[in-house]
């Protein structure tokens, strides 16, 4: 297992290199000159040339790439073309809000969706199943911002239980952090709850037909043990896959939620950087997301081996 882990880590290096090259070329080949954006409309050609030279934009492409790559390896992701702050600092500031939002949202998802899916499968075809399935259609089809505003309307404005928006770091205390993270996390998780509840139900339905479930019942086990101990673990592999990819998608899909709740997170950083053609920031963010996907995929694969003893690497 450990050897497999090391092999997978090594195998991810070429993947990341290809991503880096792709990211670099994609942005360099797209129209729009960052030097022109920085210099503004009134700049003379000499000013433009000076800015280009200062940013290294006058070098041939492959030189630019290797310079950039060399810096990356040393942990230097460059400075933002717009704000002149190091990219790593910018991302660092934004990482906590988005990270906590994603983690809490995923926690909600798992806690709510898996029991819902299990119960729906257990009551297959009956009222409770139909209720859960209809609710999941709502979860899928109502846009995230609508759910966000509805939750704000109900819990913040009508009931006054929670603040309307904003973010407090966990270091400022549990209460301020939790009170501000609950609503955005619920909002963000709605679609994942719908997705994973459905996935769990489908996977459970398949497993509940298996012979060993009949064996478990014949042993005189209560339904709770049959469902959670025997069925759910066997149904886990597809559910884990969706949770993993869901989590990775969440990181890049938080933009709307962050806007609705005015959270200074990565999602909004991405949007701002793309609109301003802030290359170093965009590159760093894409690399970060790609790295995250690689790590999460590895964790998912390892979790398969933990839930299913037949899988050995």
């Amino acid at each position: 297992m450990f050897a497999y882990f090391i092999r997978r880590i090594l195998a991810s290096i070429p993947v990341m290199l290809v991503v880096a090259l792709f990211v670099f070329l994609l942005l360099r080949l797209s129209p729009g000159d960052p030097a022109a954006i920085i210099a503004g409309d009134m700049a003379s050609p000499t000013q433009l040339a000076n800015i280009r030279a200062a940013l290294g934009l006058d070098q041939p492409l492959h030189i630019q790439f290797f310079v950039w790559l060399g810096e990356l390896v040393r942990g230097n992701f460059g400075t933002s073309l717009i704000s002149q702050t190091p990219v790593l600092t910018m991302i660092g500031q934004r990482l906590e809000p988005t990270g906590s939002l994603a983690v809490v949202a995923m926690l909600f998802t798992v806690i709510i969706a898996i029991p819902l899916g299990v119960i729906a499968a257990w009551c297959h075809g009956r009222f409770l199943d139909k209720l859960v399935m209809s609710a999941s259609v709502v979860g899928f089809s109502v846009p995230v911002f609508v759910i966000g505003y509805l939750l704000i309307q109900l819990f913040a404005l009508e009931l006054g239980w929670l603040p309307v928006q904003g973010f407090r770091s966990l270091s400022e205390g549990i209460a301020p952090f939790a009170s501000r993270i609950v609503l955005p996390a619920l909002t963000l998780s709605s679609i994942y709850i719908a997705l994973i509840a459905r996935m769990t139900r489908a996977s459970m339905l398949e497993v509940l037909d298996e012979d060993y479930i009949r064996t478990a019942r014949a042993k005189g086990l209560p339904e709770r043990a049959v469902l959670f101990r025997h069925a759910l673990r066997n149904a886990a592999v597809p559910i884990l896959t969706v949770i993993g990819t869901g989590f990775a998608l969440m990181i890049s899909g938080v933009v709307v939620t962050e806007s609705v709740f005015n959270i200074p997170g990565l999602g909004r950083l991405i949007v701002d950087a793309v609109l301003a053609r802030d290359y170093p920031v965009i590159q760093a963010l894409i690399l970060l997301t790609a790295g995250l996907y690689v790590i999460i995929n590895l964790l998912i694969d390892l979790s398969y081996a933990i839930t299913d003893p037949r899988i050995r690497y």
Binding site: G125, D211, Y212, A216, A218, K219, G220, P222, A225, P309
Partner: protein, 557 residues
Amino acid sequence: MMTDAPILEVEELVVETSGRKPSRILDAISFTINAGETLCLVGESGSGKSVTSLATMGLLPPGALVAQSGCIRLAGEDVLTATPAKLLSLRGRHMAMIFQEPMTALNPVLSVGRQLDEVLCQHTSQTGPQRRARVLEVFEQVHLPDVERIYASYPHQLSGGQRQRIMIAMALLLKPQLLIADEPTTALDVTTQHQILALIKQLQREHGTAVLFITHDMGVVVDIADRVCVMHHGQLVESGPVDQVLGSPQEAYTQRLLAAVPSLLPRPPREATSNKTVLEVQSLEKVFNANQGVLRWLRKPVTPTRAVDDVSFVLKRGRTLGVVGESGSGKSTLARCVMRLITPTGGNIRVSGKQITELPKSMLKPHRKRIQMIFQDPNRSLNPRMTVGQSLIEGPTNYGTSRREALARGRELLELVGLPVDAIDRYPHQFSGGQRQRIAIARALAMEPEVIVADEAVSALDVSVQAQVLTLLHEIQLRLGIAVLFITHDLRVAAQICDDVLVMQRGRLIEYGPAAQVLGQPEAEYTRQLMEAAPGRGWDFAAGAPVKPRFSPVEAH
């Protein structure tokens, strides 16, 4: 050990499908089982024997089957009206069940020790070490080796026989009064089956358990039953002590069922009709080598598996060669090599004198039509989205026959295999298992082959249907002179259909010769073991009486 107190009483049990138009699955079934007694429920598929066992366990699938009336009394409690909590304690404590398929009846993601521990956890208040000790003790009772290791093993790390022992251990943990065994040995090899049956008998003697044993195999009935209940279409046709039911069956259905059981005594040899060799295999070898591919030096070296090792035989026109052996003996790999579905690693295969061992795909095509295959499970070997006609003509049209001609030939073939001509436009699901196997035979014949390879072609069929399909194969062989390579694990079937028999074990040829000789006076120790393990070898179904010992060189006077 027999006492008169009935452990289980089933009275006038009626089970119907739920829904608007209920159909009757069990029609007023009544029987009792006493302590220390084994009652066999026998019948063909769809006779309702498994439903009876599930109803007894209170495990009828909810929303699909309902017990309409009658009662099932176990330890003075009616299973049908018991509260859910009472039912949970009845299961495990008073009754336990062993299922047919040991491969799927155990949870693959929990260690087997844990799966047994769970039963004790649920039904007793023993401490952890006590429970562990009890589980290990029961493992010893079912003769599992190295119990500590087995305790921590997962089901996929154990053999089929070991898994079935685990199931039995699980059933015996709480010393139930009633053990329900639903086809517990059907999925096992004969030697393993023999051991498991002996184990159930031994444990029954020791604990005085009542056993409800469900099987379709008359041989197993002979070996294990005290009393027999014959079931047919949800009704109890006949019941009584085993000697009486098998020796002098009263009902026509029972008589038919018994008559269909193939005898272990090889049939009289057939006259050879032709001297033409259609299939010749010389020192065939197939080695599965895991150490292949670009990254082979990165992997741990694995010992190559010799699935087929130096096997030779000759098949003449119009003859049937049986390949018998237990699972893992290499019979199916041999069949696949002969079909050239896989490429052998050594030796020669000649079809009608033409060497096909190493022909590339493109040059193999003209030879493919000479050798056709019939598979085990007719429910899965026919494409469910193609009509019978489409399945029948696909092969011939690939070889250039016109559609119209192929369809005309298809109709003839359907008649030949005893199916109505209008079957050509219907889909496989509209036929029964036996009919589907007839379609599969017709499909193989459509190519006008010289050799048919039948891989366990009747193993999935009920005994009466099996008899019909075997007769059909025999007739077709007489008419068309086709040679058949018949792969089977069932020695009874082999004895009735084969001219020659080849016994395989772990890829090697153990014994090869005329059926009467190999199965009648086996020379190899392994063949003898196989014959000894065949269920019901002590009973002659045709005569309805025990057989005289056959293997002793001198007849007892």
